[in-house]
Amino acid sequence: MRTKQEYLIRYKDGNLYCELADIWIDPSKPVKKALITHAHFDHFTFGCEEYLSTKETAILLKERVGDNIKIKTFEYGEEFKINGINISFHPSGHILGSSQIRFIFAEEKWLISGDFKLQKDETCKQYEIVKTDYLISECTFGLPIFKWDESNKIANDISKWITNSPEKTSLLFCYSLGKAQRLLNEISKTNFKGNIYSNGSIHKINNSYRELGIDIKDTIKIENKKKIDELKGSLILLPPSLSKGYYLKNFKNIQTAFASGWMSIRALRKRSGYDKGFPISDHADWDGILEVVKKSEAKNVFFHHGDSEALTKYLVEEESINVLLFDK
């Protein structure tokens, strides 16, 4: 067996790193070369000399942080070589442009899942099963209590929630990139036909999605001095950062909800301070993680981004799959 130093990809300074190619994956500090799995800010840091990503991720990133970064882009499935290692991006189904990254070196395959989900989402490419020897998977929702409902069921619940209180303004909080567009797409297929507003950041990302060929409904950008009567019975999409403080004072007679996988748990729902929680996530649930582990045919699995204790024990004891720990 190899020592951990000899693995093709390992943890270094809290980040995934491939020494042979001298390349980092979603690094949290400036480095020379960074592979970016998707355009969420917790996977991106300023100041790297060069970024490599899919075309969509690059466009979304530039839309969010400006043109002042050097990004080399690739199509899904397109292989490129760095120092003898074949690298390629594959759809991960998390948000538009999100990807898994595969490394092949000396006939050994490594796959970094990135953030992923298996559920259908019309605003991005469906997760692609990629075979590998080593799998590095996220496990944000690594407990069997997490089982997602179909997104159209959640969208119908949201629609009912709005239409049952026609005298109120419904504020739905969700991440601006990915979740907001997915919700928008699903909600526009429900019985709710009222106006949908969003704040500036969500509105901007909606436009980018549309420019990238994703057909989602247009939202009305919320103006600070919107007449309160106009907002009655309508839906406003907002990022969670606006849920606290005086921003909410702009509205009257509101009900609030948060769309997140964590909302499956009553205690978390109560503690969140929102009136209601809609459990919908762009990450895989327990069954999703297990499915990917099995279908990837990986002999060895690493977990990161989450509590992996239960998953590890379960895979080792119930499924006899070798789970390795990173030397962090």
Binding site: L143, P144, I145, F146, K147, S264, I265, R266, A267, L268, K270, R271, D275, K276, G277, E309, A310, K313, Y314, E317, E318
Partner: protein, 546 residues
């Protein structure tokens, strides 16, 4: 249809924060359902005496057996969720594949009066099979309610007060009447619901029930501007607040938690039944040191509370007393609307009459509370400071002109408690919380120095803000030395100010001391662990007080 409706009601109440909206939702529910189902709904929502049909542990075991699910995985999930009924509900999702949802139209009444009680008659194997059956045939949306009823953990943030308000609005009758009707045991039946919503008030029917208790507020500075003569002063005893009722010859003892506790204190019931008049007294039950005429510690009272039909030797070992504060009803006449100072005169008058005219000696188990007469406010403060000497918690201050209304009304009664005792201690263990605090480390243990060693001296759960809890939770996860199941031992680094009410010798604890009502009053980020107090400091504190 009504389990469905109740399930929706539960969902609605759970996702509404405004009290007024909750009342509206409840009103609507009561109007659109059968009395018997309403009765069960009230029974469940007030959670007064919900029976536990099986334990949370047992529920988890059944699930593990039926679906061949690893027990450890259920336990791990429990740490995140904090409620057995909910964990099993979440794990059951998509597991019950039967399309035969025969129970989708079951009524709340049928479920609660038939389906569930019948489980108790089955042997273990049949019971497990039947529970599986119900899970399979019940639509998924109702699993949570079913599991919660099974485990007797039905709590949705609906207080009795809220139910009271909804019913009161529904039929336009004073809240106090409804509150009175809801006092004591609530047996779900058509009759009990119809009684609740009866627009005609019939005092006879409220016969064995206590009045809603009037509660004291914390002291407010503004009362110091008033003349001291406007108030009546009493000691604040640390016992069980109770109403002692004798109506139509029958004595009943009701705690503030609305429990009938006659069986725990038979000697009191027996003695009081010799009094000729009927009455309702508000007072405190204590274990009494007759030699020194002060109360024994609350811990002795605890030895009596949970023991039904105590033996004579227990009765002698832990002698009880009922100290009356107030007379609320005399021979069928409700005198709660009379001013306190006049009620006190009545109380004293009847007490002396009873002492002289009762064939048995009642003074060894019943007295009325002594009043204190401070000259001015500084003098009142002196009394308050002395309250530890007679084992009381401070003073109760009552407005002489007040009537006996219900609840924690402002501006009528105040509690003026002795300042708590405090020590600075080091956080050494943390344990996951349950319910609303699930998934966070919220149960803490604290230690004091003994030479070079930190010795655990108290556990506390309350006192931190939600923000502080989250911050501390993060710190705990990063600074764990070892995990033992749900408990983590921590790097000694954080110092907290712990306040408590009482400190005494205890052989059961390694530290040799026990404190009452410990709580966190400050996160001393300014202090290093070497600044924390030692056990010696604690012993000194104990000496100072006794």
């Amino acid at each position: 249809m009504s389990l469905k409706k109740f399930s929706e009601l539960f969902g609605d109440l759970d996702s509404i924060n405004s009290t007024n909206n909750k009342i509206e939702v409840l009103k609507r529910y009561f109007l659109s359902n059968e009395p018997i189902d309403n009765s069960w709904a009230i029974y469940l929502l007030t959670g007064k005496s919900n029976k536990r049909f099986i334990s949370g542990r047992y529920l988890k075991n059944i699930f593990s057996q039926i679906y061949e699910y690893p027990q450890w995985l259920i336990d791990t999930c429990y740490l995140k969720v904090g409620d057995s009924a909910e964990v099993i509900t979440l794990l059951l999702k998509n597991k019950t594949t039967s399309r035969n949802k025969k129970l989708s139209n079951i009524s709340l009444n049928e479920l609660l009066s038939k389906t569930i009680p019948e489980l108790s008659k089955l042997n273990e194997e049949e019971k497990n099979l039947q529970i599986k059956n119900i899970w399979e045939r019940l639509p998924e949306d109702y699993h949570l309610i079913f599991n919660k009823i099974l485990t007797g953990t039905f709590r949705v943030g609906v207080s009795i007060g809220l139910i009271t308000k909804s019913i009161s609005k529904l039929i336009n009758i004073d809240e106090e009447i409804i509150s009175h009707r809801l006092m004591g045991n609530f047996n779900p039946s058509i009759d009990s619901y119809e009684f609740l919503i009866n627009k005609n008030i019939n005092l006879q029917e409220l016969n064995s029930k206590p009045f809603p208790f009037l509660l004291a507020n914390n002291i407010e500075d503004k009362i110091f501007n008033h003349s001291i003569n406007e108030f009546q002063f009493e000691w604040k005893y640390d016992g069980i607040r109770m109403q002692l009722i004798k109506r139509s010859g029958n004595v009943s003892l009701w705690t503030r938690g609305q429990e009938l506790v006659n069986e725990s204190f038979p000697e009191l019931v027996e003695k009081m039944s010799h009094i000729k008049d009927d009455f309702v007294l508000d007072g405190e039950l204590l274990v009494w040191n007759y030699k020194e005429q002060i109360a024994f510690d609350f811990s002795l009272l605890q030895k009596r509370i949970n023991r039904k039909s105590p033996t004579i030797s227990i009765q002698i070992k832990y002698p009880i007393i009922f100290i009356a504060y107030d007379l609320l009803e005399i021979n069928g006449r409700d005198i709660r609307e009379i001013k306190l100072e006049n009620r006190r005169i009545e109380l004293e008058k009847y007490f002396s009459k009873w002492q002289n005219n009762t064939e048995k000696n009642i003074s060894d188990i019943f007295k009325i509370c002594d009043l204190i007469f401070p000259k001015d406010w500084p003098n009142a403060l002196t009394y308050k400071e002395k309250s530890r000497e007679n084992n009381t918690e401070g003073l109760i201050i009552k407005k002489k002109t007040s009537i006996y209304s219900s609840g924690r009304r402002k501006g009528i009664w105040w509690k003026y408690k002795v300042d708590p005792m405090q020590l600075d201690a080091v956080l050494i263990y943390a344990k996951g919380g349950s319910g609303r605090r699930a998934g966070l480390y919220t149960d803490y243990s604290f230690a004091l120095w003994k030479d070079q060693e930190l010795i655990k001296f108290a556990s506390a759960y309350s006192g931190l803000t939600n923000i502080e809890i989250k911050e501390l939770d993060k710190w705990i996860r990063k600074n764990t030395i070892e995990k033992f199941g749900p408990v983590r031992s921590l790097k000694p680094e954080m110092v907290f100010e712990i306040s408590f009410e009482k400190i005494q010798i205890s052989k059961r604890h390694k530290s040799g001391i026990a404190v009452r009502f410990p709580r966190i009053t400050k996160w001393r980020k300014d202090k290093k662990i070497n600044d924390a107090d030692s056990l010696e400091n604690a012993y000194e504190l104990m000496k100072k007080i006794s």
